[in-house]
Symmetry: C2
Subunit: 214 residues, 2 copies
């Protein structure tokens, strides 16, 4: 692991999912000139309890001194290493509808090390068109392209019924991380990570709270 | 609470966030003719441990009989009530770029009870254009529109720098649930729920796992 600290394996996924949010906030604080932050201050900015932040970070070692807060710079650097953000990650996009176009035109990936290298679709009208510098490729080229030029991450923005076959193709080609905008639960083998950006699931968890207050 | 069971207040948010995923799967099983499901079967389909499913559901009462599994129909009905999905929820969309267009054209909201009633933008070229039956309205009309015709949920698909002012406007007008596609952490008062669909946060939590395996 190239000198990174050994990390215990049993860290809950929900903790890992919070680290990027801490990381983003800390980067911003560093850019704004802050040198030290307390778990109280960080928690207030992120609507997380200070105890939760201390517990989450404690999985990775001792970052803060009791009563003196965290070094913004050091915590930021450590989180970058822990999250694997000290290198570039190559991505392909499959599905170039409205969502896919939003992905292609999103300027936030590159500066954080996520490089979109190609975009695919199955619509003959879309294939071959130019999109933010990409020529949209035929999804049938995907297996061959990935053999010739492997990528780390697949972003899929295809209809629900196409999600599983597209993911199977990506996984067969060695892709081990899938970011899915498709509104469907998909199956992947062990060792492959999937994150879903699903508006319905988010809406349906909020209505739980809305309902309670009625 | 209209006859719904009283729900304890201390249920972790991470549990609530899993319920819509159970609900979706159960609806599909019901539609496919299944009458009973074990936590083992449900867990396998969703990549969640059976123990986790039993624990999550136990917050809400006893749904299953030891060794006999859950009634698909009953669990589906109960989750619908628990999640507040037995009624319609009105939504407005703010921001009609690529992402906003994807939201407007997404056919999955209506059947689940989420009704998009209006779409707003601040771009003079976009305001007044027709989009899936909506005439895009000027975001400056938003406060007046919400006073005249309140909604439950705001979906925001605006650039990072516009997110907070738009959310402030929505919250001031009584909206208590925000689904945000903006790549930024926002502040809301207590009692307002926010869910973010942020591709970078999802990518950065997956690279943690990719990195470990190198």
């Amino acid at each position: 692991m190239e000198g990174a600290r050994a990390v215990p394996l049993e860290i809950p996924e929900v903790v890992i999912d919070r680290l990027p949010i801490y990381y983003r906030r800390l980067c911003r604080m560093r850019d704004e000139g802050y040198t030290v932050v307390s778990s109280q201050e960080l928690g207030e900015a992120l609507a997380v309890t200070p105890a939760q932040i201390r517990k989450d970070l404690s999985y990775f070692g001792r970052f803060g001194k009791q009563g003196r807060g965290y070094s913004v710079e050091r915590l930021c650097d450590e989180l970058r290493l822990i999250l694997g953000l000290d290198r570039r990650w190559r991505m392909v996009l499959v599905g170039v509808g409205h969502l896919g176009r939003a992905v292609v035109s999103y300027a936030g990936f590159g500066p954080q090390g996520f490089e979109l290298v190609a975009a695919y679709d199955n619509n003959p009208k879309t294939i071959g068109t130019k999109l933010n510098g990409f020529e949209v490729r035929d999804v049938r080229e995907l297996p061959g392209d990935l053999r010739a030029d492997p990528v780390d991450i697949g972003v899929i923005a295809v209809p629900a019924e196409s999600a599983q076959p597209v993911i199977d193709t990506l996984v067969a080609a060695g892709v081990r991380a899938i970011l899915s905008y498709a509104p469907v639960t998909v199956q992947v083998p062990a060792g492959v990570e999937v994150r879903r950006l699903d508006p319905l699931v988010s809406l349906q968890s909020m209505t739980y709270y809305l309902r309670r207050d009625r």
